[in-house]
């Protein structure tokens, strides 16, 4: 398929899925009411509905819409971060957690829950530690001379391990009846905490970062040929890489703020995208964003609807992700060679 065709079709699928997801939920709304509501919102032309317009308004716009947007944002952010990392680290097996961002953000969330009453403070702590862990990884890499990519990966391993240990410390200190369960549930990942305010507030930096990553995607092709080749092509490798690590870490941190730890999305979605559109980052990056959004929306719908109580989405993404990854490894030689 030609590049614009793929992007257009994926966008269409995402929009349709978004609208369908809005109509799905435990509270029964007839298809007719949904259609009339959408017509009223889009055209301003109101017709009589069986449920009151106010109820529909709060149901769709205040409850379901933030949830749908949260799913799309988290899915696309993790995917774009994963795709960017895979290209810039020249390794199709890395995920957004490579530089410790998810470990750091989880620690930040747990610490916040332990120390603060205000949810805003917890979110701030989540975001801040996500970033701090990446800075630790980059700092460790900068301490040594040598292959930057390898050192960054090692820095990430160290930073991730450190914040995972610190997370255990926090868990150990947490009150086992109230705080510990809250932390554990949070770390399973779920979008049920995604309130409208958080979603709208985080959406702005996430969307801006994603747009910037799309605009810079051409550099990823060159970076994936190795530092020396990229520099010989006139690319300021260190600057571009740091900028892209910054953007990818920003969006990854914010996914933890919205929905806790949601694993495997950032690893498998770029592979699906690569199988579909090939490895050219100019197409791969926007495709990963769209497919990631579609995927998490789908999984979140399943989590919301399948059982009478909600399943934490992180559990489902892992359970789907692992067998899928084995499948990907078998088919691997199309997108990347051994």
């Amino acid at each position: 398929m030609k590049r614009p065709t793929v992007i257009t079709s994926l966008t269409l699928v995402l929009v349709v899925m978004g609208i369908v997801s809005l109509t799905l939920g435990k509270y029964p709304v007839t298809l007719r009411d949904t259609a009339l509501f959408l017509v009223a919102k889009i055209t301003g032309h109101q017709q009589a509905t069986s449920l009151s317009m106010d109820l529909l308004d709060s149901l769709f716009l205040s409850i379901r819409l933030p949830r749908v947007v949260a799913a799309v944002l988290v899915g696309s952010s993790l995917s774009v971060a994963g795709a960017a990392f895979q290209s810039m680290f020249i390794n199709p097996l890395v995920s957004p957690s490579l530089l410790g961002v998810l470990a750091g953000a989880s620690f930040g969330a747990a610490l916040g829950m332990l120390l603060f009453k205000s949810w805003l403070a917890v979110q701030a702590s989540t975001f801040a530690f996500g970033f701090i862990s990446v800075m630790v990884a980059v700092g460790i890499a900068r301490m040594f001379k040598g292959s930057t990519i390898l050192l960054l990966i090692l820095g990430g391993v160290i930073s991730g391990a450190m914040f995972t240990s610190l997370l255990s410390v926090v868990k150990y200190c947490a009150d086992p009846y109230e705080k510990l369960p809250a932390i554990v549930y949070w770390l399973m990942g779920g979008l049920s905490y995604a309130d409208a305010q958080t979603v709208w507030f985080t959406a702005v930096p996430m969307v801006i970062s994603m747009i910037l990553l799309i605009s810079m995607s051409g550099y990823l092709n060159v970076l994936s040929m190795g530092d020396e080749e990229a520099r010989a092509l006139g690319v300021p490798v260190e600057k571009i890489r740091m900028l892209m690590i910054f953007l990818a870490s920003l969006v990854s941190s914010l996914t933890v703020v919205i929905g806790g730890m949601i694993g495997w999305v950032g690893l498998i979605i770029p592979h699906i995208a690569r199988m579909l559109v090939g490895p050219d980052n100019k197409v791969l990056i926007p495709s990963s964003i769209l497919i990631g959004g579609i995927y998490l929306l789908l999984v979140d719908d399943i989590c919301r609807l399948l059982f009478s109580t909600e399943i934490p989405i992180g559990i489902v993404t892992s359970l789907v992700g692992i067998p899928f990854f084995i499948f990907v490894m078998k088919k691997a030689n199309r997108g990347w060679s051994s």
Partner: protein, 282 residues
């Protein structure tokens, strides 16, 4: 004819940490030259190429591109003049050949960029000139070593560069591909491109003719017309290899290892009397 100095290395010394890799290198590259850089493994060939590309900064001394110190020139501007063709590598992601060639357009682009039809046209034109236009949609990772090397040369041409720096371009290629590669180099050199290439093969240096530079332990030990400086003495000094340099048809030279002459009892005279051994006194 006024010769212009394209690249000039002045008293270049380079060391990785405490290890001295290049010492007091002085060399000048003129427009249209084809330079073969010979030296044993670890002699500093690759480092010298990277210093001349501006990828490594000399510890002492300086490199000048058209009279201007290379570290003071914008990296994109350098890339529009000098192109690096690295040793053949397989690559991790299976980009299409056209996408790899398009990377060469990057030095002509602003910070935020996407390749347009003009870039595509240029990329296709360069591929056609190297007769690899038919490979455009093929995955780079599935090409043969020779095709990959030609793809990287097409990318170098798409950069708009006039100086090509090739790091052991023939290494890892089968015999046929080595010959096809050298053929393309000869063709491009006739069109006015300048080549600096490191090589493990004195034969290749003979085939390309022109100029050779010999480097050993980080220092230049020979620089000049290829036929003048590659002989059995210099090859012995360079590689500790016993070889006779034989003239064919009075012009082309080939190397014949002593082990082979002893083994086959090669006769010196041919029917036309034009193959002859040069005197051997090692």
């Amino acid at each position: 004819m006024i010769e212009m100095n394209l690249i000039e290395a002045r008293d270049v010394t380079f060391s990785y940490d405490t290890k001295l890799v290049l010492r007091d290198i002085n060399m000048t590259v003129h427009r249209g030259e084809v330079i073969s850089l010979l030296g044993p493994n670890g002699s500093g060939k690759s480092t010298l190429l990277k210093v001349m590309l501006g990828l490594l900064r000399p510890s002492r001394g300086s490199v000048h591109l058209k009279g201007k110190e290379i570290s003071r020139i914008d990296a994109k501007a350098v890339a529009r003049q000098i192109a690096y063709v690295p040793q053949t590598h397989k690559g991790t992601f299976s980009y299409k050949v056209i996408d790899v060639v398009l990377m060469g357009r990057l030095p002509h682009k602003p910070f935020f960029f996407s390749y347009n039809q003009k870039d595509r046209d240029i990329a296709f034109e360069k591929m056609e000139r190297l007769s690899i236009g038919h490979l455009a949609e093929r995955p780079y990772t599935e090409l043969s070593g020779g095709e990959r090397q030609l793809t990287l040369i097409a990318r170098a041409m798409a950069q708009g560069a006039e100086i090509f720096v090739l790091d052991e371009p023939a290494t890892g290629l089968d015999y046929g591909n080595q010959l096809r590669l050298l053929e393309q180099i000869i063709k491009l050199a006739r069109e006015g491109y300048t080549f600096i290439k490191s090589t493990h093969s004195p034969e290749h240096a003979f085939w390309l003719g022109d100029r050779s530079i010999m480097i050993k332990d980080g220092a230049i030990i020979g620089d000049g017309k290829t036929e003048a400086i590659i002989d059995q003495e210099s090859l012995y000094t360079l590689y500790n290899a016993k070889v006779s340099v034989v003239k064919v048809n009075g012009s082309l030279r080939v190397c014949v290892p002593h082990a082979i002459t002893n083994h086959t009892r090669l006769t010196v005279k041919s029917e036309k009397d034009e193959i002859m051994f040069l005197p051997l006194n090692l």
